[in-house]
Symmetry: C2
Subunit: 696 residues, 2 copies
């Protein structure tokens, strides 16, 4: 990848002879950007562009350039790619649109391009991309004139859109390297990450993702990289993911977006929800060491903003630190009625002592020096009036920072005169450990993300996300497509030691009576027949059969119903099942197109859709992970035993989940699987019914 970012020579194919407004001439941009390497141009007709001689064909080039940039109409791209790879060029950036981003024909063209490249050991970025911008080296493939930052940031953006290159100031705050992987036809986010892992010019990685291939490999790569470099990701398309059809409860309860969320969190990637949070979080990581704890000290010129900041802390999972007693002893004697607490309302002290700046400075020093304060937030007005010339926050901050050797984060919020705010923020821009935010919400969002990152670092590294190779499946092959219910599905469960409610398939009334007597009343009776897949809807299930007389009557009723509805049907028998009373849970599987099998546990029965109380984990899971899923449920207190009620037998639920996740990895064709309900009792848990959806 490095030569994609730092090519010693480049050939531009499809560059217009026009320049200036409306031309989108990438040669012009490359020259403006101060590219230090050698530029070649290929043009079939025009002998030179902007004074650079062109070659009519790639084959005519005097050397093999490190990189080719192709910006032709889509139909002419495959031929150009062929020319490049035949000439030995190993790196291609295909700017052109109209490929997998457009229609079926475009998809085929893209496949052609990628196949051609791979056959010759070449790699392609794009198509449908603005390509690469590297302000450190002075290289750009963009057809937009993005000004080169003379002091590039150690923040690299990997996006599926050029907008993050054009609008870096708006989206990530500062510009570093950036790559738009576009349709990611060949080079994908995993490869770029592998390069950035060891890139000394990259300290922070920002991902804009619309989707992903090689999801498990991505997770392994990301989980490794975040140990040294934070990864901030925005995953878009949340609404579209919600619209997909599903054939089971599990399918409808767990959208793709929730799985993305889960997967990123397991890998330790900081997911941001929107662009406001993205800017705030990038700013925090650019300026701050990650918080070492969640406790903030807050100073404000007005009590009202102390309350607002406290609300924000609660919203984003941070806390207010206890007020430092040393600071209390120093400041409280200055004013008879003012009690200090955190957030510190500076105004009364500022008025009494005659110096707001002085109180601002002393309070922040007192907070930052206290061991129980992990970072600080300061809200301060900015005035333009000469009446307030005494207020000089930047000067105060520089003094404060001398008392902050650990570089605990100090977030500053200015309000007041707009131009003066911008000027003061600029004055502070270079101070390590200090950052100015546009709102207290953004400051707290940013700080909270650094604390999330610290917590990722402090927890044990996640295991290998790689999916195990499917073992020989214990119940033979499943049909390649379709829905399995009833015995067929239950037999798959049985093969994976999932606990089925005890049952006997009775051939006649006497057998049913004997079975019920053996297992004890009450029991459930069910018609078992290939012709009765919808046995519940057809009245083929009798619940709560309380005694022998009712069983005999019920058996006869079911037989009569069977004969009446399906006179030619083959009856396997009447299933006599133990009637189990317990808490109804849902366990299930869903295969995600990006991350593979996902295990689900939640509230079941009639509460399933109503409560949407589900926990998820990438399969397979360890017993610890399964137990963690159960703890994450809202109904967990009920499972554990709440308000004088007995809880359920958690170890058997854990075992069920672990076994179910093994089933998932052995059967990669299972798309969705529902166990609903799983009945959990104080002694055990029981699978009552199952539905398995196989195939695409």
């Amino acid at each position: 990848m490095q030569r994609f970012f730092e090519p010693r020579s480049v050939v531009l194919i499809g560059t217009s002879r026009q320049t200036g407004p409306g031309a989108y001439n990438n040669l012009e941009m490359l020259l403006n950007y101060g590219y230090p390497g050698h530029i070649y141009l290929v043009h079939p007709k025009v002998p030179d562009i902007m004074g650079y001689k062109t070659s009519p064909r790639v084959a005519d080039l005097p050397e093999v350039p490190d990189l080719a940039v192709i910006s032709l109409g889509r139909d002419r791209v495959p031929a150009a790619v062929r020319d490049c790879v035949h000439h030995g060029i190993k790196r291609l950036v295909v700017i052109s649109q109209g490929f997998a981003d457009a229609d079926e024909k475009g998809k085929e063209l893209q496949e052609d391009v990628v196949r051609l490249a791979r056959e010759h050991g070449a790699r392609v970025v794009g198509p449908n991309t603005m390509g690469i911008i590297n302000p450190f080296y002075g290289f750009t493939t963009a057809f937009i004139d993005v000004p080169r930052d003379p002091n590039p940031a150690p923040l690299t953006v990997v996006a599926q859109s050029g907008a993050f290159q054009v609008g870096a100031v708006s989206f990530t705050g500062r510009m570093g390297k950036a790559i738009d992987i576009g349709n990611a036809g060949d080079v994908d986010v995993v490869e770029v990450l592998e390069y950035l892992e060891h890139d000394p010019q990259t300290r922070i990685i920002v991902l804009h993702m619309e989707g992903i291939t090689r999801g498990r490999l991505f997770l392994n790569t990301a989980a490794r990289i975040i140990r040294t470099k934070p990864i901030i990701a925005i995953k878009t398309g949340r609404s579209a993911a919600g619209a997909q059809a599903a054939m089971s409860h599990t399918g409808s309860l767990v959208g793709e977006d929730a799985i993305f969320d889960l997967a990123l969190a397991e890998a330790g990637v900081i997911r941001v929800k929107n662009l406001v949070e993205m800017l705030a979080v990038c700013r925090a990581f650019l300026h701050f060491e990650p918080l070492k704890g969640p406790r903030l000290g807050v100073v404000t010129a007005t009590g009202a903003f102390g309350i607002i900041t406290a609300d924000c802390c609660e919203d984003y999972g941070l806390e207010l630190a206890p007020f430092p007693e040393a600071l209390r002893e120093m400041e409280e004697p200055r004013i008879d009625w003012h009690k200090l607490h955190n957030p510190v309302d500076l105004w009364p002290l500022g008025m009494v002592t005659g110096s707001f700046t002085g109180v601002f400075k002393r309070s922040l020093i007192g907070l930052l020096e206290d061991g129980r304060v992990d970072g600080a937030v300061a809200l301060a007005p900015v005035f333009v009036s000469p009446c307030h010339a005494d207020l000089d926050i930047p000067a105060a901050v520089r003094k404060i920072q001398k008392h902050n050797p650990e570089h605990k984060p100090l977030a500053i919020l200015f309000y007041g005169d707009e131009a003066a705010m911008v000027a003061q923020a600029r004055e502070l821009a270079g101070d390590p450990g200090v950052a100015c935010f546009d709102s207290v919400d953004e400051a707290i969002m940013g700080l909270a993300a650094t604390w999330r990152y610290r917590q990722f670092l402090e927890r044990p590294a996640p295991g290998d996300f790689t999916l195990p190779e499917p073992a020989v499946s214990r119940r033979g092959r499943l049909p390649s497509e379709g829905v399995l219910v009833g015995e067929e599905a239950l037999n798959v469960l049985k093969a994976y030691d999932l606990p089925l409610v005890p049952g006997v398939l009775a051939a006649d009334e006497a057998g049913a009576v004997a079975a019920a007597a053996q297992m004890g009343y009450p029991v459930v009776l069910k018609i078992i027949s290939a012709a009765w897949l919808h046995k519940s809807d057809w009245g083929g299930v009798l619940l709560n059969v309380a005694n022998e007389a009712k069983l005999r009557q019920g058996f006869r009723d079911l037989l009569a119903r069977f004969r009446q509805r399906t006179p030619d049907g083959v009856l396997d028998g009447i299933l006599v099942q133990k009637q189990v009373k317990g808490i109804e849970l849902l366990c299930g599987l869903k295969r995600d197109p990006q991350f593979g099998p996902v295990l689900v546990a939640g509230a079941g029965g009639i509460y399933t859709e109503v409560l949407k109380d589900v926990a998820r984990a990438l399969a397979p899971v360890t017993p610890d992970q399964a137990a963690q899923m159960l703890r994450a449920l809202k109904i967990y207190p009920i499972l554990k035993g709440a308000r004088g009620q007995k809880g359920v037998h958690l170890p058997s639920l854990v075992e069920t989940l672990v076994n179910l996740s093994r089933l998932a990895t052995d059967y990669p064709t299972i798309r969705e699987l529902d166990l609903n309900p799983v009945l959990a009792t104080p002694e055990a848990c029981w699978c009552v019914d199952c539905r398995i959806v196989v195939g695409e």
Copy 2:
């Protein structure tokens, strides 16, 4: 109130003789602000300040000024107030801090000040306030030099902090009138609202609230005003409200913040969650007519941002409009593979036609002219390079607006060069119906708030929020303080026609047997005795007593337990209750210190704390409102009958809620009341147990 904002004359008491930095001299600020009225100064020693002659005492003033501004140390404030009211001054602004904002002594001082004023028919703004700023008239009481906006906005801020005056640009975007009511010792938000209702210089009202007195009156006032002027409110202190102690489920389930939320929504006030949303919403109302529908057209220079905008719409309750066919017919023929949809990805068309600006213009016109599009959002890059001088969004917008006679909102998001973005946004600042936002999230937040407002306007006006006078309570007086349980509580319910589970208090075993035979097995047995308030915990309740033999045994067991634990206790009898099976609900009451009695309904039994599925309404409620509460529950599908299960009898639940809310208004001393569970069956609903908390 008007003379508070436009005093013809003002006396400043406590003004420093110092001026300039650090002096916070309010005379200096008033002069800078261009006050057109007459200024008097009172100072015991200094003969003149800034060339203005002082009087040693208020009594010496040659006239009675419209307004006095007091900024003395707190101990000297009551005497100054006395001097003012004795001189006949009717309006006071008490700037000084250290009153109810500080300690008990301060609270007393504040009460003194307010009492003094009221005794003389005078009114007080504050204490602990920056007071009033009116840029239309040129009046300020602030001790900060806030620059006077020559073109004030029709947006008035009513805050409990001066920060919203100092930082108007940061918090509401533009400055209009502003009042800091501070501790609101006398003048409160209701009175200010009543003034603003008819103030021609106020078109939008922004409230910053830390709390409220006269909550119901506030709701009536607000609900009336929002018919003509939107009210945007930030209520702070969400985290503090969560910390309060509660003695019942209802109490713990319904925090004060949730009640504030409910009350503001019932009145039609637009509550914003944080300052980011506040700025976005103010900007939307300043520039836009409220959306007439939720359907937006979106144009963007990159497909990626179309997806991001779609995500935002879903987050904030707006929708993407269907793509206009007229626009498709006009644009799609220009490019062979590009299919258009909403959001419109402009780039391919811009490249093919050679004019991004042209496509931008035509697409927005096509969207805004379509009847199914209620507003539009445009994301566009801003370049500084002369290579992109052809892109002129402000010029395009002006042309677009000629095709937008209905002034459908057009929100613009620039990204790219920061200075150029600010300049282009400024160019568009005066265009009606156009607003520039800092992020797409803020644009959608703002637009969504105008749509919420439109929906408030379109729904029927809420009824009178005034609490009815308590009727003669049907069950006599309750103890002034304490917790009522068991029969004592149930008797209160009975008086309000709340359906109690049928029960007979049996004196002996034979009586119990007869009662059970009458009502039918299974039954519940309960020890009833003043000594057994904790009967459940003490084993004084037997559930599911299935037949006569078990009843006889249970009766004897309970008697034995009673005699053993409380040998001297007086046994009222053993209550035989019908064992009802049904869906467990919680109904309850909570008295809010700000808004009075609140009715609660939710999931009950063991699910109460786990699910926290509750609906709330200010009591009393109509049957319609009670039915609406039930519909708002997550478990409503279960109540209605989901997945083949019978539902419950909703009319009896509605009646129960209505009756409970009447009980609430008749007993203003009830602080919390729990009916948990209420058992709902297909035929009826039944209150099984009750706990009533009375007093403070």
